[in-house]
Amino acid sequence: MNTRTLAAGAILQRKPAEVGRWRRIARGAALPLAVLVVWSAAFRLGVAKTEFLASPEQVWNTALRLIGNGYLLDSLSASLRRDLIGFVIGATLGLGAGALLGFSRLAEKLFGPSFHTVKQVSLLAWIPLISLWFGLGDPAKVAFLSLAAFFPMVLNTFEGIRSVPRELFEVARVFEFSRWQLIRRVVLPSALPSILTGVQLALMYSWVATLGAEYLLTSGRGIGNLMVDGREHFWMDQVILGVIVVGVVGYVLNVSAIVAEKRLLRWRGTTTARFS
């Protein structure tokens, strides 16, 4: 952590803010541990109703049981497969549409306003329409997930292409690049950060949409179904397990998007350092 970002807080506290790494980790773990202890103690001391609420031990046992009989992994892989198919379709279409709007001013004027209008509709509101058109099975879910990934991808691709610096075009003109070279060597590299932001957002949106689709289009397996099922049967341990899995998957998707972005954009650090 650099001094610049710490300045406001440190000055207000009037003491050095740098604390050892382990100390900070311990501080971060304090609250979750306290919650866990209170939660567990409430059951041991008989404060909480056991038939309705679940204790940490129960959640742990349920996790082991559902991993053991394969139910958890089945649900997870079904959800992830759906998520990734929808993401790939939606992000690809979004990349194409964003590129079209970005490269052609006419296309932007023809389709841009319609796109921005449709985008206003809150995502889940599409589900009733989609379910009437595509049914309750996987096609409907994948269609919905694609829609969720489509919007952020179009926006960020468009933004990325439009914000390519003018100077780069001038350089490309001096070098007499062909159109293909222009795309590959000028437009794509400088639009890439924005496009990757779009990918990251699309991944997050489609994961949330996976849950929404599984709650509302209740057929087949999935993490969403696992949670709805748990709720209907008053199995709180299963629901809590679902919440944890949802969080972990979202976290992993997010981190992998960031890691991929860092790798793909590694060249940027060196170029700016050399030229600025």
Binding site: R4, T5, A7, A8, G9, A10, I11, L12, Q13, R23, R24, R27, G28, L31, P32, G102, F103, S104, R105, E108, K109, L110, F111, S114, T117, Q120, V121, S122, L124, A125, P128, L129, S131, L132, W133, I161, R162, V164, R166, F169, E170, A172, R173, L182, L211, Y215, L216, M227, V228, G230, R231, M236, V239, G242, V243, V246, G247, V248, G250, N254
Partner: protein, 303 residues
């Protein structure tokens, strides 16, 4: 001047003439030959701008009109069943009916009230959390990891658990919306305060401002734009969360209209509700954008 598309910038010169030289020559020529900008010229410029805006407006219509035409033809000629795609006229009639009977107004009021409560509570908690973590590194060490974990799980993920804990009453809706709002508000408040430039604080130190003055006159004004971004984003999230919770666990509100229409296979009701959901989401965002323009006016004036 609008930024040209890459193609336009690329095409601008295919002849191989150096555009920089041409531009300078043209500018010199223009300076020599044109009379100073007169009232007539100003009018002409304005007229041209208006013509451009009108042309843009005209270009925005063909595509939706085409969609409408195909939709109308498909319904009119019976290419698709009415349960799958009711005619545009039917949807318009339904919308009109729902409007006249007050169904839309009643459900809209319920939904908006939920959003207002959840939003207000969420902004409040989010600000307190963000300020606390932004000002005190110690508190940040204690709270941030837990907060981050809590925020990792999307609102939709919390929904089933929350339904078990508090039932499907009004509390569920407000808690879920609160959660959806408080996460972006807390994060952007925290980051806004953290990224107040050091030189601002140094100036404050030179002027020997007290702690209260430092907060009121330096830290908050400097962090405000980012905090506001979080609040706006929170509103978007609140509207999303509202629709989600009403779709899943409600017997009134706009989301319920969607579910109800779907269950009865009345696609016209669903479509009318989708239009209202979109319009209100748009209006909420635009409203906050307008407030932002007013609130941040001092910023432009000072530079």
């Amino acid at each position: 001047m609008p930024t040209a598309s890459p193609w336009q910038r690329w095409r601008r010169d295919e002849s191989g003439v150096d555009m920089g030289t041409v531009l300078i020559a043209q500018a010199a020529e223009a300076l020599d030959s044109t009379p100073p900008l007169t009232l007539g010229a100003a009018w002409r410029a304005r007229l041209l701008a208006t013509a451009g805006a009108l042309r843009d407006l005209a270009l925005a219509w063909p595509f939706p009109l085409l969609v409408f035409a195909v939709w109308w033809l498909a319904a009119h000629n019976g290419w698709v069943a009415e349960q799958i795609l009711p005619a545009p006229g039917v949807v318009a009639d339904t919308f009109n009916d729902l409007w006249q009977t007050g169904d839309i107004a009643a459900n809209l009021q319920i939904s908006l009230l939920r959003v207002v409560y959840g939003f207000a509570i969420g902004v409040g908690i989010g600000l307190v959390l963000g300020v606390a973590m932004g000002l005190s590194p110690t508190l940040k060490d204690y709270l941030y990891p837990s907060f981050n974990t809590f925020a990792q799980v999307p609102s939709l993920g919390w929904l089933p658990l929350l339904m078990m804990l508090v039932g499907i009453g009004e509390a569920l809706k407000i808690i879920l919306i609160t959660k959806a709002v408080l996460v972006p508000v807390a994060i952007s408040t925290y980051q806004g305060i953290r990224s107040v430039p050091t030189r601002f604080i140094e100036v404050a130190r030179v002027y020997q401002l007290t702690r209260g003055q430092l907060l009121r006159r330096v830290v908050f004004p400097a962090a405000f734009p980012q905090i506001w971004t979080g609040i706006r984003f929170g509103m978007t999230k609140a509207w999303l969360a509202l629709v989600a919770v009403e779709l899943l666990a409600s017997s009134e509100g706009l989301g319920f209209m969607l579910v109800y229409g779907r269950q009865l296979f009345q696609l016209d009701v669903v479509m009318a509700a989708v239009v209202v959901v979109g319009a209100v989401g748009f209006a909420l965002d635009k409203g906050l954008a307008l407030i932002e323009l007013r609130l941040l006016r001092w910023r432009r004036a000072s530079f």
